[in-house]
Subunit: 199 residues, 2 copies
């Protein structure tokens, strides 16, 4: 890579450290950058710095935001008594895209994972508890990921919230819509059977 000179080689190296970008893509991106108008390159560099430095979390739901409280927590139209707990702001965005959920969110920023050294204190569980103690909710819907860490986190939160006598629910497991039963794994099939409903 020395052949391109130090600035370009360094940029290729920096790009190849990003997730999902291999050597070839990093090279392609670097060549794209050096052929960009200078203001476009400055705009990209500026966006990186301002996103990293300017990232703020909503003091209510811990979501990414630029205003505090965030647009969802500040909205008068949302149902304040239903709180959906998600692992990540992207999960929150995914539920927002459904347009079917009108309550508030709480973003944990991860899931309990002893393997990766992530315990309950590394998440925003204490903030969730305090939030519910301050303004009681009717229902807390736990929408952590359907994997080991997500399930463990769901159980932990359910246990923590038990003394408050709030309805705690978990999103349904089952076969994904549009899927083909043949290709669905056994655990999902059993969960779909367990969760069957009368029609």
């Amino acid at each position: 890579m020395k052949i391109y000179g130090e600035p370009v080689s360094r940029l290729i190296e920096e790009f190849s450290r990003l997730p999902g970008i291999g050597g070839k893509s990093a090279q392609r991106l670097a060549f794209h950058i050096i052929n960009l108008p200078e203001e476009r390159a400055e705009s990209l560099a500026g966006a990186i710095l301002s996103a990293r430095r300017g990232v703020k979390y909503c003091s209510v739901c811990c979501a990414l935001t630029d205003a505090d409280p965030c647009v969802i927590c500040a909205s008068k139209k949302r149902d304040e008594r239903t709180i959906m707990v998600v692992e990540d702001p992207r999960d929150m965005a995914a539920y927002e895209r459904t347009g079917e959920f009108f309550g508030l969110y709480h973003v944990l920023h991860g899931a309990i994972s002893p393997m990766h050294g992530v315990g309950p204190n590394d998440l925003t569980i204490a903030a969730l508890l305090k939030r519910i103690q301050d303004s009681p909710a009717d229902e807390v819907i736990i929408a952590t990921n359907p994997n080991v860490e997500g399930e463990a986190t769901a159980l932990y939160i359910a246990k923590i919230l038990k003394p408050l006598e709030i309805k705690v629910t978990r999103i349904a497991h089952g076969v994904p819509v549009g899927g083909d039963l043949e290709f669905v794994d056994e655990v999902t099939l059993s969960r779909a059977l367990e969760g069957r409903r009368e029609i």
Copy 2:
């Protein structure tokens, strides 16, 4: 995307304008950036700016470089009388990786393409001509891409160099090594037949 706040949304947008990066990847990269240590984000932004601003071209061969002339043109070990003409610094890097070429390069920075409004004057063909007039070469090997633009450029350069009475060669077309004849296109097969050699 408004859901993530302005700085993060802007970064996602900036990333999705890069080649080969779609909406999902841009989002993933942006979330990676906001979770990076601040000095890593600064280092990436700095690399973008310094690559864009610090990019220099060798005054001899027009390759990307940080020293002028570039390491290859400055090397005493290279054969100065053989010049390989390539479209792009990446093509030059590809030939350097073979370790089989010991001459110098000349980087055109593109190929003649009337469709895209690229004419001979947009490339470094004048610099190539002047370079050869100043210090004559024994052979000019044209290694532009084996497509319409590359072939047109090769023919154009061959014509331009004709009055100088230099040997002008074109890299061979044929079946790629390790390929399967069955999957090689007809044009390549005919070229491989045309270019057959006695063994």
